[in-house]
Amino acid sequence: MTVSHDSPPPLLSVEHVTKLFPDVVANDDVTLDVRAGEVLCLLGENGAGKTTLVDMLYGVYHPDDGAILFHGEPLQIKSPGEAIELGIGMVHQHFELVTPMSTLENIVIGTDDARWANLPAARKKLEGLCEQYDIHIDLDTEVGMLSVGEQQWVEILKALYTDVELLILDEPTAVLTPQGIQRLFQFLRELKKNGVGIVLVTHKLWEVAEISDRVAVLRKGKLIDIVNTAETDTDELVRLMVGRDVVLQIDKEPAVPGPVVLHVDNIAAPGRSHRGAIKDVTFELRQGEILGLAGVSGNGQSALFDVLVGVNPPTAGTIHIADVDTTHVSPKKIAAAGLSAVPSDRIHQGVMMDFSVQENLILGRHRSSAFVSRGILKRRAIREFAFTAIKDFEIKTPSPVHKIRLLSGGNMQKVILARELMGHPPRVLVVHQPTRGLDIGASEYVRRRLVAERDRGAGVLLISEDLDEVFNLCDRVIVIFGGTIIGAVDPADANYEEIGLLMAGISNDSNGGGGSSS
């Protein structure tokens, strides 16, 4: 391919790049370019190949076919170190931080400034950067003690520290409040002015509209189209992204709340790590409603989930499911009292990866006389149960004895839902990030199931960091910050600014609701 001499080559060109993994074509003949001083959004569903593509730009993977040009020169890098040297920076979707070390140490490792006593020089340079971009981070705090929002800025500082010309951000807004996202976008606009080319990976449409100059849409590894943001709209982008029209709004009847099925009163419990403990958490969940618990990750959601399912006994307070005191009883008894739960970490907490679909379908229910007789598992009954579940929950698997590891995230989640719902309709359903990492089709399915459970008469507690989901699905919304319920918002208003302030810990006293107001 020849480049015409009158216009400079784009900052980065991806030409016919293909990347194969053992079981999937992650990128299939992708061609696009990034210009200096623009924001290019890479839009696509989970599994569309966005992360693989940017990982190749950063030297994590190498294309099996095609070429990547940087400043018109072929980019032949074997590792991220070489990418950094060339001026390519990346903010990863899952933070790449050494948590027991300070911000300063995290930033200098891998650079030449880490030598001996050269840290003062690095500190000076960083202080300059922080001032230039108005970033407030204590350089000497252990990174593990910072909030996730602050950790995101550490990741950004890491990229800036080595003078970037091309900055890649992979789903950077997932952990931020609406205000935090605005702050990030403002920062990106400033970078743009300085001539930096920016690639923003996202699956959120409004982000595309707000920040990007152009959008490249990926679907199942293929580049579908590149469009100018100004000349497109949400409907077209969804169609490009999913390949069909999608109803983004879930239709549901108004809730008909019944009696209280879950009463959480002033509970406190330690978190899974230094952060994330809960204290004085009080709320009520009624039959026939979906209660949303919104908040930035790390504010106690995991501790609360652990307490509710019984794996982390609370140090204070009481929990009642209907009239039964379940404060200090085993997870088995809590399940028997009518609580079902879907954890956020499917792979580690939701399933046994190397067990079959049918074994996963009866996990925790395997003691029931339906599946076991005198200690011997009833193979035929289990098989029949599995076939019913596969049909009712539209689980795509070659057979019930297929290892669950080989299913997609969406199908794994359907197995978990089937296990938690079939045969013993729960009174209380606690779901934590139920659609994280799922494609639009599977997310739609899960959300419709939650509404169906509500309409059947369950109380549903939806713990989620996805505000669109919370506003879309919930009948009431409470917000958790620093381990306590800081306030409530009305999902009908869908006021992002109001909920963003609460998520950042700025309380609105006028709005009482589910929280313990003090």
Partner: protein, 316 residues
């Protein structure tokens, strides 16, 4: 008997023995600290010390040079470390399995070679290759107490104690040390910053092996002059325990090694004066105290966060 215990001579004997006995523990534990800091849990210290001791014994026996024996011990320990590093950083097998296997390999190989090369001595009794003379520092060694305890030790003992601040400087004050510790906590983050994870792990594990080899060499070339299969008798395992006991901190590891050396020295001296304390009690103490230290430190453990977890790019 009590009169025997409360004497200057007794106290000096115990304290001097503490420092002497601590020497191989320091080599083993400080080396293991470096390896573990990079995320490699090397359980083969016992076997590596055995190999190091045998290499020192064999080379000194053949050449007559004690210093060549020391070099051989270091080299053989480094080779053992290199095998471990290859299995863990390149092939990425389970580190516990690799370490235990290498342990058996080290002990078995040494005994096999001993039987093959020194078959005549194996049947007729033990051959002694001799030991280093204790160096005398004019003036210093004659100071009462201090001279007798501190300045009447083997050369290799000074090397061991000197290695402690040097390793501390390296781990905490150099770029290479910072990156090595970062690899032990989060190899993925380091990889994404262009730091070569295998390179750091090879370096750390080979260094740890060399130190363990030196510890084994000390036992042969500075204390017994002998080699026999049970020579190390659990010192490698105690070194591993000391790293945990010391909560992965250099100063506490040094303190742990000297403390266990003191216990052992006390036990030996008590036996010498006929005090009937069951020696098994003192043998068990390092492990008991390690469990206690684990419980005490559980909320502020300094354990490298990715210890014993093989790193593969793109997998979490």
């Amino acid at each position: 008997m009590m009169d025997d215990i409360f004497t200057h001579a007794f106290a000096i004997a115990v304290l001097a023995a503490a420092i002497r006995i601590a020497t191989p523990l320091i080599f083993g534990a400080i080396g293991e600290l470096v390896a573990e800091s990079s995320g490699i849990l090397n359980l083969s210290i016992e076997g590596t010390m055995t190999v190091g001791a045998f290499a020192g014994f064999a080379i000194t026996g053949e050449t007559g040079s004690l210093w060549l024996g020391v070099a051989g011990a270091v080299f053989a320990g480094g080779l053992m470390g290199a095998i471990m590093a290859f299995m863990c950083a390149t092939v990425k097998v389970d580190q516990i399995v690799a370490g235990l296997a290498l342990n058996l390999f080290g002990g078995g190989l040494s005994f096999f070679l001993f039987r093959t090369v020194f078959s005549d001595q194996a049947s007729t009794g033990m051959r002694n290759v001799g030991v280093f003379k204790v160096p005398h520092f004019w003036g210093l060694s004659d100071i009462p107490w201090v001279g007798e305890i501190v300045f009447s030790q083997q050369w290799l003992t000074y090397v061991a104690f000197l290695s402690v601040p040097l390793v501390w400087l390296f781990l905490y004050k150099t770029r290479y040390g910072l990156e090595l510790r970062s690899v032990g906590h989060n190899p993925s983050a380091c990889d994404m910053r262009g730091i070569s994870v295998p390179q750091k792990q090879y370096f750390a594990t080979i260094f740890g092996g060399m130190m363990a080899g030196l510890g084994g060499g000390f036992l042969t070339l500075s204390t017994t002059g002998l080699w026999f299969p049970e020579l190390i008798s659990g010192r490698g395992w105690i070194a591993l325990a000391i790293v945990i006991f010391g909560n992965w901190r250099v100063t506490w590891i040094l303190a742990g090694a000297v403390f266990f050396g003191f216990l052992d020295g006390l036990q030996l001296s008590l036996q010498a004066v006929g005090f009937a304390l069951p020696y098994q009690l003192l043998l068990a103490l390092p492990f008991v105290l390690t469990v206690v230290a684990l419980v005490v430190n559980r909320s502020r453990s300094n354990v490298p966060l990715s210890l014993a977890i093989p790193y593969r790019r793109g997998q979490r």
